[in-house]
């Protein structure tokens, strides 16, 4: 007998499970239209990769996820893409989201299925990638992509793998019926997950109010090391953190994940989906949904194609719309009221309750808190619901956060026992939402401040640089001007000085000669005098020398009676003139 622990708090609401366990799982008929929301998981929404009018086969990918977190969406049957548009989706807000609408052609024609014969031969990453590509997200409720969950952080070794078959909420029997009828598939899926994670211990936990399921799973796990653990019925034992506490006695740290303490929880439905992806090559295109409540005549559990509108399911169970008071998606504790029955079944839809007015009456009016403390007694997370309520209502969000508001699993036990019928969980949900919005705004404001400051710094720097450039330019200009001025001043003064000294020297010479008194005349002639005399003398000497050579050449030519006598005579005459001109010039200069 495996040792079991207990978690604090918890309640024992009326079960109402027998309603939908009377007959086996039925196959839901094909609706006229399948509506597939692009976001059925946590993470980025998928992007449609088909166009309106395209024909798709069963199992074909119709939307892919570009990011790391998210899984693709597959066509649940063969047909034509009718629209890619906004359509109401199952969400507490009752809002619309992007959906792909398929009009089935009734042929149910499969695209190529590729089962893996022996996954042991493959790489673990390959198997995980297939789990992702086959659209598997947790079928338990949150819809976390299974491939990411199956890859815990490197430093966290998962030693205990728990398959959650507790199904503690009233009315819901989807997991119960699945375990009764498909225990073999569950065990096959568990084997794949265990092979990926290599845990030391594999546990299938089932509440003791499901004897048939326990029996079936025990038969399926015979001769394996998988433990089947029967746990006492108590809400919310199916909560991940509570189940871990029951089975291991350990608590998941606040804000942490089960892998932090070496544990992982998977849903039984997820195990079947994994098994089908690996062994049959079928993507996640259908799931088991409980349709129950006293407003339907034949409640039961259905194998439903994803995208089947809720109203189509209700029609198959004989809904008495006169009796219908509230349509609830999920369980009566944690589910929410559907505003329209037109929304489709998605990967996380496990139960549909068509309740009559007597069954789930409108909540009685909220009365003042009488501080009885019952909420604190039943809180499975050991929080202080009363304090959280005060602070949430007063808008003292910081104080509520300080009291670990975010550890609240919103199980609804406190609201259930509250004698003043205060909708406590709704206060907590609103406070959580408000805190998240504020955090997002703070983050945005911080980024805006950063950008603003960066811009201010940039503008200042640019201004400074501009100023610096302007200064540099001004400085360069001033220097250039100064240089030019200096040059301009230098040159004229030198010239002037030279000239004045020359003039002074000339005047002095003239005075010394004491002859001529003309001021302008001697200045010019005297200026040319010294070079002229020398040049003239040189010129004269050159001309005389040349004349002499010419004359000697002429005499030689005459003696030899040569042809060039005439030319030589002309040249000699010319040289005579030159010598004479030089002599007169020299004589003139000397005067």
């Amino acid at each position: 007998m495996t040792q079991l622990w207990d978690f604090s708090g918890g309640i024992h609401p009326e079960q109402h499970k027998h309603l939908s366990t009377a007959c086996p799982i039925r196959q839901s008929s094909l609706p006229e239209r399948l509506i597939l929301p692009l976001q059925q998981h946590i993470g980025a929404p998928a992007e449609a990769c088909v166009a309106v009018g395209d024909r798709v086969l069963k199992g074909e990918v119709i939307a892919t996820v570009p990011g790391a977190v998210g899984v693709p969406v597959h066509a649940p049957t063969s047909g034509t893409i009718e629209a890619i548009s906004m359509h109401p989706v199952p969400h507490p807000s009752g809002m619309s989201d992007r959906c792909i609408t398929i009009a089935p052609d009734g042929l149910d024609q499969w695209t190529g299925r590729e089962p893996i014969a022996d996954y042991h031969a493959l790489d673990r990453d390959t198997v995980l990638e297939r789990i992702r590509q086959y659209g598997i997200a947790g079928l338990g409720g949150a819809g976390f992509p299974t491939n990411i969950k199956l890859r815990p952080p490197k430093d966290r070794k998962v030693s205990t793998l728990i398959l959650n078959g507790a199904e503690c909420e009233p009315y819901i029997t989807a997991d119960d019926m699945t375990m009764r009828e498909r225990a073999d598939e569950i065990v096959a899926g568990l084997r794949v997950m265990a092979w990926v994670l290599r845990p030391e211990r594999c546990v299938i936990a089932i509440e003791d109010n499901k004897p048939e399921a326990i029996e079936a799973v025990k038969i399926a796990t015979e001769n394996t090391r998988t433990e089947v653990v029967v746990i006492p019925t108590k809400y919310p034992s199916g909560g991940e953190k509570q189940l871990i506490q029951i089975l291991t006695g350990m608590e998941v740290p606040s804000g942490g994940i089960p892998a932090d303490i070496g544990v992982m929880c998977q849903n039984t439905g997820t195990a079947i989906a994994v098994s089908r992806a690996i062994h049959q090559g079928e993507p996640l295109i259908s799931r088991v949904v409980t349709v129950t409540g006293r407003a339907v005549s034949s409640p039961g559990t259905f194998d439903v194609l994803l995208g089947t509108p809720v109203e189509h399911l209700l029609a198959q169970t004989g809904l008495d719309s006169q009796q219908l008071h509230r349509l609830i998606l999920g369980g009566p504790m944690m589910g929410y009221t559907l505003e329209t029955p037109g929304v489709p079944v998605v990967k996380t839809t496990n139960c549909l309750i068509a309740a009559t007015a007597e069954e789930l009456p409108a909540p009685p009016p909220e009365q003042p808190c009488i501080r009885c403390g019952m909420c604190a007694e039943v809180c499975p997370m050991e929080l202080l619901p009363q304090q959280l309520f005060w602070h949430s209502r007063a808008g003292e969000l910081e104080k509520a956060e300080h009291l670990n508001l975010f550890d609240c699993i919103e199980c609804g036990a406190c609201s259930y026992v509250c004698p003043s019928s205060i909708p406590l969980v709704q206060y907590y949900r609103a406070a959580k939402g408000e805190i998240r919005v504020q955090q997002a705004e703070l983050l945005k404001a911080d980024r805006a401040r950063e950008r603003f400051e960066a811009r201010q710094a940039r503008l200042e720097r640019e201004q400074h640089e501009k100023e610096q450039r302007r200064k540099d330019r001004a400085k360069a200009a001033a220097e250039a001007q100064a240089k030019q001025q200096a040059k301009a001043e230098d040159q004229p003064s030198d010239d002037h000085a030279a000239r004045s000294t020359l003039v002074a020297a000339a005047l002095a010479r003239k005075k010394a000669k004491a002859g001529k008194t003309d001021a302008a005349g001697p200045a010019t002639t005297d200026q040319a005098e010294p070079p002229d005399l020398e040049a003239l003398e040189k010129q004269l000497a050159q001309a005389t020398a040349k004349l002499n050579t010419m004359q000697s050449m002429l005499e030689d030519a005459r003696a030899e009676n040569a042809d060039n006598v005439e030319q030589l005579e002309r040249a000699v005459a010319k040289n005579h003139d030159r010598v004479k001109r030089a002599e007169t010039a020299l004589a003139g200069a000397r005067n």
Partner: protein, 192 residues
């Protein structure tokens, strides 16, 4: 008698000098740059940098508040910011000063891109550099960085910038608190 009096005075004097020196040293050694209150006030302002308060950005207004200015001049922050500021400064919250504008739903600037002439005037006006573009090239607003301050609308010579109210969608939706009406039918859908 005089001696004891002088000793007492002397001891007190010495003590005064020692502690004076210590305090003087501490005030130099542990000097805080700037006013920490300004930072705290600034962190409460919405950082739209819209200038509706009459100051060129949120920080100058924070500085002014620290120096005793009114806390009700910030329309983008609205009641929430006024309450937070009143809490921080321990003063009575005042209603928003309508002179500076009214509280509006969150908005974002969107450029009608086919009408943009690429004048870069809006880029120069944007206080958080959230507009992308170059001269004679089409501009566009980086939506995630836009603070909805409105400052780019006026400079646009062709009026191609719209301020669009951000509609709540399924991803930004949050639970609303239950209506505490005493009549049961008021709380239809309270659930849980």
């Amino acid at each position: 008698m005089w001696t004891s009096l002088l000793i007492a005075v002397g001891v007190l004097l010495v003590l005064a000098v020692i502690f004076g020196g210590l305090l003087g040293f501490a005030s130099e050694r542990f000097k805080v740059e700037g006013n920490p209150l300004v930072d705290e006030i600034d962190s409460l302002l919405p950082q739209t940098q819209c200038g509706q308060c009459g100051f060129p950005g949120c920080r100058p207004y924070a500085e002014s508040i620290a120096n005793g200015d009114a806390i009700n001049k910030c329309p983008p922050g609205g009641e929430t910011t006024i309450r937070a500021l009143a809490d921080l400064l321990d003063v009575e919250p005042q209603p928003l000063d309508a002179e500076h504008g009214v509280e509006q739903a969150k908005r974002v600037a969107v450029i009608r891109e086919d009408e943009c002439i690429g004048c870069t005037k809006c880029i120069q006006a944007c206080p958080v550099d959230a507009i992308l573009g170059a001269a004679k090239q089409m501009h566009t607003v980086i939506e995630s960085e836009c603070t909805g301050c409105d400052l780019c609308v006026d400079p646009c010579p062709v009026d191609c910038i719209d301020m669009i109210t951000i509609e709540p969608d399924i991803r930004s939706w949050t639970w609303s608190p239950p209506r505490s009406g005493i009549i049961a039918t008021d709380r239809a859908g309270a659930g849980a």
